[in-house]
Amino acid sequence: MSDTTSPNTTKAEPLLRVRNLSTSFKTDRGVVTAIDDVSFEVAPGETLGIVGESGCGKTVTSKSVMRLLPDHLTIYGKESEILYGGKNLVRASAGEMRLVRGDKIAMIFQEPMTALNPVFTIGWQLDETLKYHTDLNKRQRRERSIEMLRLVEIPNPEQRVKEYPHQLSGGMRQRVMIAIALSCEPDILIADEPTTALDVTIQAQILDLMNGLKRKFNTAIMLITHDLGVVATVCDRVMVMYAGRVIESGSVGDIFHNPQHPYTKALLESIPKRGRKSGTGRLPTIPGIVPSLWELPEGCRFEDRCPYSDGDRCVHVEPVLEQGPDGRPVRCHYPLGSSRERPAKLTTSAARGAQG
């Protein structure tokens, strides 16, 4: 499979290389593949956005990298590689992963209240990470904890370390999560919908903070989100996922201004635009719903919702992720802007739009 990184946008050597990552789960109904053949790279100081709708596999991707999925129920593909520091994390032992997790690769979650332990103080939770990963003594760890809280702009950190998560607001809790994640100065920060549960003014604070810390520590950030506004504001590169597949990737500018996959284009169009009230009052929509991972189609997974389907090759042959017309990877038989002749819009695709 081709490299999803466009060479001109990545300057530094990638820190993390994910190759052909497939993750399946054993369930009562049999084995289901949540993500299929996902490849990407992240370089220092870069923010990679992973976008898509619920169930597209963006969270499974991030949890696979962290190896946070239950080992006894998870099957990684034979070819799957998560290369970090010369090691393939897919085959790493639990002990090896513990050394990486929190120290080299850290993660923050959507809902900080469930990620923080309610019965321990903020200080205790910061201390736990430092105790495991550093040689600092108790007093030094306390100082470091306070310093981290100050860094994430929590007022009065000397007092806050003694408080419990429920005493903090949602935005403050997410700051604590970021402080814990960054306390060992990780190379990579995985942020899984870090601002989705927050109000927009608090979201602005957190995005600003993450951007500032990225510049300061040159951290690589993998930002998982469904919010395209957040992507446009903070990401350098974007990978779009649909039903467990990467369907397109590229620089944030290319993705927003020159999408090659019909799904990316439709997704961008379906969001109401700020400051531009549409005359007709109707939004362009994507008809239908995402296919179930249990009943994936033989051909392109977006085919039944795609206005450009040819009704033949698209139905029977799944496209591979390959260089599109402007040199970026795209998974489509007829990428937008290509010279390959695209079939006329099928009349049936409009007709099946009513269900949803």
Binding site: E53, S54, S169, G171, M172, D199, V200, T201, I202, Q203, A204, Q205, L207, D208, H226, D227, L228, G229, V230, V231, A232, T233, C235, V252, G253, F256, H257, A266, L267, L268, S270, I271, P272, K273, R274, G275, K277, S278, G281, R282, L283, P284, T285, I286, P287, I289, A354, Q355, G356
Partner: protein
């Protein structure tokens, strides 16, 4: 002609405690809110969590009893009406919730849910068949008539919200409170449901109060918007040219904090310092004073009234003329 008129609506929730379980404090959820909604209009309510927008919606249709204030529907006061007197208004005023899954009975088929409301309010005219009516409703919200035999868990999120809409429409209402109707949906599904609501609104001539935390959605869907902060309406502004017309510093901050869907337009987001104050002991003056870039001394002592400014619009701020 205004369909709904609200005067000085206030809703407080008591907090009980102590040995005698007396009221020891109050949550000031909605404070002194007044507005009108014209027939056929869609009024948006926008604000962050805890600003009282959902409480306002629920109090407006008397799912919650107002602590103070008046609500008039078609000129008739509905505050203080008895349960029986309220019945005709219950039919006329319906609500769509954010999460239809928790507002639909999981043990009832869609058919049974709809039938119950239709029977209770005696919606059908003589000779009209219940089955045909429900089939028609299902089609109207973009579902197959056969789907009515299914239970709520058998539907996807978007379909479930369509059922929530059918539930509200089945009693032929005139006015609908839509409380974050698309917030739980993916963007592609969100667009489908917004379009459906827009079509139905036009076709059936509905009037709406549309509550959302998402400015993009409110701007797209509504004619006018009330901006709420800690229980107060701080500004009322038309949505045609929101960026230009917004005057209140909070509205401006809210607009500026919204990420722009364009990576080439990377102006820094407006950063407001601090958090929203607690609604249990709200500060005496303007609730936004603690975070406001334009704050002056008397902002901290008395709440500025929502009054008509030079621009002709209603803004609650001392610093705007």
């Amino acid at each position: 002609m205004s369909l709904i008129e609200v005067r000085n609506l206030t809703k407080q929730f008591p907090i009980r405690g102590g040995v005698l379980n007396r009221v020891i404090n109050k949550v000031h959820a909605v404070s002194d809110v007044s507005f009108e909604i014209a027939t056929g209009e869609t009024l948006g309510v926008v604000g962050e969590s805890g600003c009282g927008k959902s409480t306002l919606g629920k109090t407006l249709i008397r799912l919650l009893e107002p602590t103070e204030g008046l609500i008039a529907y078609e000129g008739e006061q509905i505050t203080g009406l008895s349960h029986g007197q309220m019945m005709p208004y219950r039919r006329k005023m319906q609500i769509i919730f954010q999460d239809p899954y928790s507002s639909l009975n999981p043990r009832m088929t869609v058919n049974a849910t709809l039938k119950e409301a239709i029977k209770l309010h005696q919606v059908l005219e003589s000779g009209e068949s219940m089955d045909d009516y429900i089939d028609g409703l299902m089609k109207q919200v973009g579902l197959r008539p056969d789907d009515k035999r299914k239970f709520p868990h058998e539907f996807s999120g978007g379909q479930r919200q369509r059922i929530g809409i059918a539930r509200a429409l089945c009693v032929r209402p005139d006015f609908i409170v839509a409380d974050e109707p698309v917030s739980a949906l993916d963007v592609s599904i969100q667009a489908q449901v917004l379009n459906l609501m827009k079509d139905l609104k036009e076709k059936l001539g509905l009037t709406m109060l549309f509550i959302s935390h998402d400015l993009k959605v409110v701007e797209h869907f509504c004619d006018r918007v009330l901006v709420m902060y800690l229980g107060h309406v701080v500004e009322e502004v038309p949505t045609d040219n929101l960026d230009n017309d917004a005057q209140h510093p909070y509205t401006k901050a809210l607009l500026g904090a919204n990420p722009i869907d364009d990576p080439t337009d990377r102006r820094p987001l407006t950063i407001l310092e601090g958090d929203v104050p607690s609604p249990i002991n709200p500060p005496p003056g303007c609730p936004f004073a603690g975070r406001c870039p334009m704050v002056v001394d008397h902002c901290r002592t008395a709440m500025p009234p929502l009054e008509r400014k030079k621009s002709g619009r209603l803004v609650a701020c001392y610093e705007i003329e």
